[in-house]
Every structure is written in structure tokens, then in C-alpha cells.
């Protein structure tokens, strides 16, 4: 017997992709939106991003140490959660608010359920919702250059059209809003990167955005608005891009199959449109995705692939 030879089960080769590399790709994809946010809102935005990331990492470390689990902060998933939490906050939020919701999100939403892969709802969105419930004013009031400004969605909720141009909304210039959501272009760049790298499929983002666009266009036409501008403003002027590209595509809490992802995207789109147009909030992305997260196991069950050889009639003379 040769002791130096290692024996293990097949296969003996592995693809290079790892959880850490996937998370790193997501972080890279999030960079453009962060840069736009810091440029638009200043260093306070960067402080919040760093505070959220640090709080997430530290909470994960403490939780895992406390229950003597393997520490897995090096998989970078907590970094992604931290960045997304900060991106969903206005730059005027207090750093301690961000730290509290980050800690809550990692401890309660992720680690209590067993850590990465075990949470059933998106931790970053839970953080967003906790903040909204805890400090409704400070996280839904937006300032730009020191002046309080309404987001395009809030303006449209009031029945008017936003003062920003569609181009502003696309580029993220002259836009009040959450740190990471203002530039559709920056988010799209990140999205394209993720698709090219094979990290996400386009199914969910396209289904989500298209559903909102169609629903809003029909609503706009029925209520006698400028359909094109109204639709574009709805699509570009809020958190839809950030949600559709980065939150609705979360592996853990969204369906696995292509078909399932389309159903998921359409569901998110319908809920978002209904909340925005008929609900009490101007924005509905967070709640829509969270609700669809809960439906995910069901969608996965419906869209499970057909198993080879399970078709009863085999053509004998084909």
C-alpha cells in the first residue's frame, strides 16, 4: 500500500468557481453603483458602506464563534450583504442605524437559520425593512446637496411628474435616493458583468423590469399620462434596477431553474407595480422581493426539471 497516494471519490477534478469567487464577482459588479453614490452624496455614503460591511462581518464572526461553528467570513457573503444594506439606505442615515440593522440582518436572518445558504429571505432586504419600520422618517427622507428632495417615485405618487430628466435617472445625476440605487447605468454595468461571468442569468431581471414596465405603461395609458416618460421614470427612478439585478437574483432566496426565475421575476414585477400604484408606499421593491422569497420553495417545486426517462410513451418505431 502506498501511503502517499490520496484516495477520494470521483470526480477528481473541480471547476475553479467557488462561493468566494462568486461573491467577489458580485462585489465587483456592485462597485460602479457605489462610486456613483459616493460621488453624488460624498464621503458620508462611503462611511455608511464601510460601517455596514464591518458590522456584517463582525456579527457573522461573533455568531459563529459563539456557537462554535466554522468561521466563514472569508467567503465574502457578509460583505455582499453589507454593501447591499448600505446601498438601500439614504446617505443621511446615522451610522449606528446602519450598524444595528446590519447586525440584525446577519444574526437573525442569516445565522439563526444556519448561516449562508440557509436563510429563506434576503438578509439585506430584511435590514431595509427593519430600518423602515424602526426609523420611518430618517430612512425615507432624502437630501441632495443638503436640500431635502423628493424621489421621482414620491413625486409620481403625488400625481406629478419628477423634475429630473430621464437621462438624469439613467445616469444618476441630480437624483435624491438611496446610496446605491440612483444610477441605472452603473447598476446595468454591474448586471452585464454578472451575466457575462455566468454568475446570474438574465431571466429574473428582465422578467421583473419588463413586468413593471408593461403594468405601469398600461396604468399610465389608462390614467392619461405621458406613457413613455411615465414608464421610464417608474423603471429608472427608484430601487427597481438595484432590486432586479442584485436582490431578486440572490441564489439562496430565489428559484434555481430558468423557468422558475421568470415566474419569480414576473411575480416581483406585479407586486412592485401594485404596491407603487395602489399601495401606501411610493416604493415596493423590497417588499415584493421578500414576498416572492417566501414563494420560492413552491416555484422550485413547480419548475423542477423533468427526470430523464420519465415520459411514459417511448416511441418504438420512430
Amino acid at each position: 500500500m502506498n501511503q502517499s497516494l490520496r484516495v477520494s471519490a470521483s470526480p477528481h477534478v473541480r471547476d475553479a468557481r467557488s462561493t468566494t469567487k462568486v461573491m467577489l464577482d458580485v462585489i465587483i459588479a456592485l462597485v460602479p453603483a457605489g462610486v456613483v453614490g459616493v460621488v453624488a452624496f460624498g464621503m458620508q455614503a462611503l462611511v455608511l458602506i464601510l460601517a455596514a460591511v464591518a458590522a456584517c462581518l463582525l456579527t457573522e464572526l461573533i455568531c459563529q464563534k459563539a456557537v462554535k461553528r466554522t468561521v466563514t467570513i472569508s467567503d465574502l457573503s457578509a460583505v455582499v450583504t453589507g454593501i447591499l444594506i448600505a446601498y438601500n439606505m439614504p446617505h443621511t442615515a446615522e451610522w449606528w442605524q446602519v450598524v444595528i440593522v446590519s447586525a440584525f440582518s446577519i444574526a437573525v436572518c442569516k445565522q439563526l437559520f444556519g448561516g449562508i445558504g440557509c436563510n429563506f429571505v434576503n438578509p439585506a432586504l430584511i435590514a431595509r425593512v427593519v430600518a423602515q419600520i424602526s426609523w420611518p422618517m430618517s430612512v425615507s427622507t432624502f437630501y441632495l446637496d443638503g436640500v431635502s428632495g423628493a424621489t421621482p417615485l414620491t413625486v409620481m405618487k403625488g400625481g406629478a411628474m419628477p423634475e429630473q430628466s430621464i437621462l438624469d435617472m439613467f445616469l444618476g445625476t441630480n437624483m435624491p435616493g438611496c446610496i446605491g440605487e440612483i444610477s441605472a447605468l452603473a447598476l446595468l454595468v454591474g448586471g452585464v458583468y454578472l451575466v457575462v461571468r455566468g454568475v446570474i442569468k438574465i431571466n429574473t431581471p428582465v422578467a421583473y423590469v419588463a413586468t413593471v414596465a408593461v403594468f405601469v405603461a398600461i396604468y399610465g395609458a389608462c390614467t392619461g399620462r405621458d406613457v413613455l416618460n411615465y414608464t421610464l421614470a417608474q423603471v429608472l427612478g427608484g430601487g427597481l434596477m438595484l432590486g432586479a439585478i442584485f436582490m431578486a437574483t440572490d441564489y439562496v432566496t430565489a428559484p434555481m431553474t430558468g423557468k422558475g426565475q421568470i415566474i419569480f421575476g414576473v411575480g416581483c414585477g406585479l407586486l412592485t407595480s401594485v404596491i407603487r400604484l395602489f399601495g401606501g408606499y411610493p416604493e415596493g421593491v423590497s417588499y415584493s422581493i421578500l414576498i416572492m422569497n417566501i414563494v420560492t420553495p413552491l416555484i422550485d417545486k413547480w419548475t423542477a426539471p423533468r427526470i430523464y426517462g420519465t415520459v411514459k410513451e417511448v416511441k418504438q418505431n420512430g
Binding site: N2, R6, V7, S10, H12, T19, A304
Partner: protein, 442 residues
């Protein structure tokens, strides 16, 4: 024509040596070892019983092990010489298995039974099947299922297709490839014989399109025969899996739990066909096969080895280890068995030996499933490996049943792609055991 394929699968070769198998261009080379160890179990089914004794002089091609049942195949002396031992010896299975050990006299003196048996036209299907049985031919793609059993159809069974597997989808291995380009006439003659034995109207030879030279050579050799067609397959693992091959070539699926014949197909390897041609046209029973010795060896090559050659002798023929070996795999990197000793003999199912150095053998650590769905998208059977993995670990028989654990072909695509580096295929294989045990009890 567009290359045919199946749903799912992976491209492991792209990650290895820029997609080119190391031994691809090394011509087949004959080698006979000084001592051969012939285990009495070289196939799926009942082991053989030794029919020679220590001290006997044996001739190449002489029967040294008689079949232990219908699903079995005789074993022949792969060299001429003297029987020096009949005793249990190390075997790929990990257990010692009864073996006949022959000291080679390097005369290759043939047994009188080794003489041409006839031609496709002069022999009946029944006679061809008998020759296949007598020659000890088994499936040479790796599973080593006795070939004569596969072709012995029940009265209610009918073959619409004979499919020859020349996909050789296992990365690194090139023995079938070399066999096809160096001796295409053996493959095609074998195809004609197997076609007659099967009673099927048409034979399709499936070859992956990364082997254009093999496609050309076989097409050329098959030109005179209208009932033999070469089918170009997409290069993708596991294209050579029986079920995937049938799907790609015929569009049919083997019903769950059934054999290929349930879909009107019989599948054999191209090397099995070549061995059949030798058995009928030359009368030579199965005593040797093409084996790729590759990876971290000094001269990756394709050897025609007598059965019973030790892995050590085979690796020495490839110039020995290049650096310190970390892993020696019987077969290829996707489905091969890692071994921890080199005195195991090459047998009828040994298609290759792959050596990994410490740099190539990446040890991985499992982490939580992140539900990325990659295992689901690559599974060529349409299973949900992540779910089966979890159920296997929990021994949850209900979920194992629901998710159809027994349909898994253990191709390893799921483990290959898993970013959390979970040993999915390994656990699912264990889950099959759990399920079988649980259902047996009832």
C-alpha cells in the same frame, strides 16, 4: 450536419491542459509484461473459476478461468508461459480476488483455438454471439458488462438501433480515439458483426466532434456499408454515457429503471466492436486492450496492454511518474477510481490510468450549499443533486424516493461544478445504498 447532444453536462477538458488530452497524438504501442496477474473477476457478474494449476504451461488465448454463470465471461491467458500461482491477489475493488498468475515466456505461442472463425456473411447471429461469449468479450467502455448477454434478446425485445460509443467523453483518455484512427477497419468490421448479432437494421457510431480525424477515418472505412452511419456528437461530458448517447443519437429516452433495449437500442463501445472483429476474423479472444496512461507521467501514451499487467508496469512504460504522484486513478478524472497501490492489474474494463501530481490534485473543503442551481442545470438526468445530497446525509428515504435517487448515473457533473465544493455525487451514491437498504427491509 449539426453535432448532436443531450441536455446538461459539463466541459471539464477545457480546464485541463488547454482542452487537449496529453496523449492524443501518441500512437498505440504494444507491451507485454514479464508477469501477468489475471483476476477471475474482470466483469460485472459471476466471477470465473480457475481451470489451470500451478506449474501448468499455458498458451496465449487459452482459457484459464471458466465463467461462473450466464452473466459472466471466460478469462484467457494473455501471454504464453507458466502458471506460477493461483491465489487471491489485489484487485481494483479493494479486496483480494482469486487470480491466475502467469510468468511470460515472451514467445506469445498461440492456443490452437486461435484461428479465424468466419466472416459476417458466413456466420449466423447465434454463431457470432457464441464467438463473443467464447472470446470473453465484455463492454470495454468501463462497465465491463458481458457483451453476449446484451445481445441475447428476449423474444419480445427488438433492437431498432445498434449504437457504437466512440464519444470518449472522459477527459484525458484517448485509447478509443487512437483505436478509431489507427484501426478503423477493426471498428467497422466489428460494427458489421455486432449489427448482425443484434438484428438491428442500422448501426450508428457516435463520435465527439473534437475528434475530426476519428470521424473521418471511421466514415471512410464505413463507406461501403449503407447500414453503418457515423454521427457527430457535441464535445461534452458525459456524452458517452449510455443514456445521453441514446438521447443524442436517436432522440429517445430509456424508460426510468429500464435497459437501453427498452428504448430499442443496444449500445457497445467502439473498442468492444474492435475486439469482436479480432475474435471472429482472427479468432483471438480478449487478451489485451488499449489503455491510456496519462497525466503526471513522463511520456503520456496509449498502450496496448495484456490483461494482468500491473499499474506499476504500465506507468513505467509511460516513462514513470513525473515528480511525486499524489493520486493514481484507474480510468479518467471524472468517473475513475483512485487507488492507493500499484500492484493492481489492468483488466478488461481498464480504459486508462490517470496520474495527478500534488499540484493537479486539488483537495477541497465542503461549505454550505448556496442554492446556486448549477448542479441542477448540469445534471444530465434532470435530477436535483443538492436535494438528493441533503436527503442522503439525513438518510431521508422519502425524499430520496421522491427525487428519484436511483436514476443518478454517478457522472459527477454536480460535484464538478459545485462552488461550495460539496461532494454531491459521492453522497448521492451513498444515498442509493441507503435507499436500497430501506426498500429491501419492507
Amino acid at each position: 450536419m449539426k453535432a448532436l447532444t443531450f441536455k446538461g453536462g459539463v466541459h471539464p477538458l477545457h480546464k485541463l491542459h488547454e482542452g487537449k488530452p496529453l496523449a492524443q497524438n501518441a500512437a498505440l504501442k504494444e507491451y507485454a509484461a514479464a508477469t501477468v496477474v489475471l483476476p477471475m473477476s474482470q466483469h460485472i457478474g459471476a466471477p470465473c473459476t480457475p481451470c489451470v494449476e500451478v506449474g501448468d504451461e499455458v498458451l496465449m488465448g487459452q482459457v484459464v478461468g471458466t465463467p461462473g454463470g450466464f452473466v459472466s465471461a471466460p478469462i484467457h491467458a494473455s501471454v504464453s508461459g507458466k502458471v506460477v500461482a493461483v491465489e487471491p491477489r489485489p484487485h481494483l475493488s479493494g479486496k483480494d480476488v482469486m487470480a491466475v498468475v502467469i510468468e511470460n515466456d515472451f514467445r506469445d505461442a498461440l492456443d490452437p483455438s486461435v484461428k479465424p472463425k468466419g466472416t459476417v456473411d458466413s456466420l449466423s447471429a447465434e454463431e457470432i454471439r457464441q464467438i463473443i461469449l467464447d472470446a470473453g468479450i465484455v463492454g470495454m467502455g468501463g462497465a465491463a458488462f458481458p457483451t453476449h448477454v446484451k445481445y441475447a434478446l428476449k423474444p419480445d425485445q427488438k433492437a431498432d438501433y445498434l449504437i457504437l460509443n466512440g464519444a470518449e467523453c472522459e477527459p484525458y483518455l484517448t485509447s478509443d480515439h487512437r483505436t478509431m484512427i489507427e484501426t478503423p477497419e477493426r471498428v467497422v468490421e466489428g460494427a458489421r458483426l455486432l449489427l448482425k448479432a443484434s438484428g438491428a437494421p442500422v448501426c450508428k457510431i457516435g463520435i465527439e466532434n473534437n475528434k475530426p480525424d476519428a470521424i473521418k477515418a471511421i466514415r471512410e472505412a464505413a463507406k461501403p456499408y449503407k447500414d453503418i452511419e457515423v454521427v457527430e456528437l457535441m464535445t461534452k461530458y458525459p456524452q458517452g454515457g449510455e443514456k445521453q448517447l441514446i438521447k443524442a443519437v436517436t432522440g429517445r429516452e430509456v424508460p426510468r429503471g429500464g435497459l437501453p433495449i427498452a428504448a430499442g437500442c443496444i449500445v457497445s463501445n467502439v473498442s468492444t466492436a474492435a475486439a469482436t472483429a479480432d475474435a471472429v476474423l482472427k479468432g483471438l479472444p480478449l487478451v489485451k486492450r488499449a489503455v491510456t496512461v496519462t497525466g503526471a507521467v513522463n511520456t503520456p501514451c496509449n498502450l496496448v496492454l495484456r490483461f494482468g499487467t500491473s499499474y506499476e508496469d504500465a506507468i513505467n512504460q509511460a516513462g514513470g511518474f513525473k515528480g511525486d504522484p499524489k493520486k493514481v486513478i484507474s480510468g479518467g478524472p471524472m468517473m475513475g477510481f483512485a487507488v492507493n497501490r500499484l500492484d493492481i492489474p489492468v483488466t478488461k474494463g481498464t480504459s486508462g490510468l490517470t496520474v495527478f501530481s500534488a499540484a493537479e490534485d486539488v483537495e477541497t473543503k465542503e461549505s454550505n450549499c448556496i442554492r446556486c442551481g448549477r448542479c441542477v442545470s448540469v445534471c444530465p438526468i434532470g435530477l436535483q443533486p443538492f436535494k438528493l445530497d441533503a436527503a442522503s446525509r439525513k438518510k431521508d428515504v422519502e425524499v430520496l424516493k421522491q427525487c428519484d435517487v436511483m436514476s443518478c448515473i454517478n457522472c459527477g457533473c454536480c460535484t464538478y461544478v459545485c462552488p461550495a465544493k460539496r461532494n454531491l455525487a459521492q453522497n448521492i451514491a451513498l444515498g442509493k445504498g441507503v435507499y436500497t437498504q430501506a426498500t429491501k427491509k419492507k
